[in-house]
Amino acid sequence: MSSRTGRLALAHLWVAILAFGVASAMALMQALSRAALDLPWRSAKMYYLSVTAHGTLMALVFTTFFIMAFGYVVAERTLGRPVPHRGLAWTGYWVALAGTLATVAAILSGKATVLYTFYPPLKAHPAFYIGATLLIIGSWIWGFVVIRSYRVWQREHPGERAPLALHGMMATVIVWLIATVGVAAEALFLLIPWSLGISKTIDPELARMLFWYFGHPLVYFWLLPAYVVWYAVLPKVAGGKLFSDPLARLVFVLFIVLSTPVGFHHQFMDPGIPASWKLFHAILTFGILFPSFVTAFTVTASLEVAGRLKGATGLLDWLRKLPWGDPLVASVLLSMLLFAVGGLGGAINAAYGMNAVVHNTAWIQGHFHLTVGSASALTFMGAAYWLLPRLSGRQLELDLLAKVQPYLWFIGMVLFSISNHITGLMGMPRRIYDASYGGHAAAEAWRGLTGISAVGGLFLFTSAGFFILVMLGTGLAGKKRDAEPIEWAEPLEPTSRRATLLDRYGLWTVVAVLLVLIAYAYPLWSHLQMRRFGSPGFTPF
């Protein structure tokens, strides 16, 4: 790693790690609060503030900064040349960091308890919206630098295709650039002028449509870098080879095309959107299951290759041969197991009829802690164990904690997620400070399960604490040594390096934009034609 790009990646990684640490502390409080444990500082104000801080720091700050760090590493190490425009890249970092600090300050001062979905007419301090917008602008600069890295290299290697890890990162960037158009429009045209008092009212349903235009591809922005780790890093560290390079490329292309035109499946229960458009988005949502099914096969097959290269025989012996004690391998394998459940749960959410049973219940938090909270977050933690020593030239310290941490996360997530799925089916809403409802019989039935969820939260908090200790121990006091190289998985069968249809990013971006136009242009246009009434702002927090 050139030290200059290394410093850039490390700077991003540390913001991600610190955001994760703060967000974890907020999470512990929520899990305990719902179980109605009598804590001295427990109050509704603190609870909803901590939900806002946890969601924003985890979903927007930890993920974005980690992905930016990983993106720079991939861009430099797959192409073997320093990232261009480093001055611009640092500008992006400072813009995103300044935005993050403004948003966090607004939240922690109690002026932005609007949760990370910030649905108007709940109205936060302008610093919350402006800060979040700056974070996104910083990430756009990152996306530009990654694309430029590829372009500069491509000009020198005409007709060659990008290495697979960069291919996945290009897909991530494209999905992100298309997705953030929605939230940027929401912030710039609706939220910021309204919070500054320039416009008096806001259309809450239009804001929701723009938010979920962004909100669903956001989950693929979290997931695709995790898939890069699964396809391009995991087989190498586990001692195997990538089972199929072309199929992996196909998977990333399908995500470019299908990620965005599916947002209405978050709004099945909304008024103001005709059922026919909800159905259209629902069908596309099922289409996006396909690349994840393919991923399940290819990654598992790559692991089998690893086990057999280590001398495994018989049907399942290869599983035993995998290095389960390696923090990266353990993190990724466990995150994949949790994601198998979370992904199928997602299919349930997308199903029109069943969605009515689970919408906005505890089922949803059970679901997305398996997806973003495990498939992405646990993979990112595993990747951090692999990345930090290689970037900093320091040895991984407290490695026993790093070995145990993924298993604690797994246990905690099983307890937390299963109990929340069940209470959700029993009708318990999500995001509630207190689940007693005046002792109503229906609410009494949730009680034991909220306790199990809290125990899960304790495991997760311990696990997160171990992760932070390992990171701080390594980063601040790790023994200096020559950094190990960053290496990517080789395909099982040597494939041509010539670019194919699957490597034409411009073409797939055009296809994606067309599909977005089909899915969103008419519903948005007809929405704007309706006689609509604005809503003033409210700050009930």
Binding site: F290, T298, G353
Partner: protein, 158 residues
Amino acid sequence: MNVPLYEKIWMWAAGGIIVAFVATVLITSIGGALQPPSHVETIDPTQVFKDPRFAHAGVAVDPNGATVVSVGMMFAFNPPVIRVPAGTPVTFRMTSADVTHGFSIVGTNANTMLVPGYVSQFTTTFARPGEYLIVCNEYCGLGHHLMSAKLIVEEVRP
């Protein structure tokens, strides 16, 4: 693209599952048997209590079924107790007088968002008599967890 046989089988199976899922959704929704609440009607959210559609919250029962008019606000539903007959189609017409709320009847699949400026409407039938808990399922401020109501489904005596 050279795809190994086992992976081909897997991909066809995955495609088959997806087709089955989509077919299930299509078959159950076409003909209106199973539709999410997707009513399109707007209202001035600052004038909800003066608007003739919502000035009188409550339940009206006629031979064809019952209509419930209800308003969500920080941090209560009006009316706080809803009585409807069992086995009869009940149409809910609802809106919010301030921020976005949710309306979910625990133990049923009756669930809708209440977005200020819009009228939510859906029709459902309650088969089992009894008392049901209604909760707000969208964060609406510091009293969110206190926002609830009751639905009483009464047995119809012939």
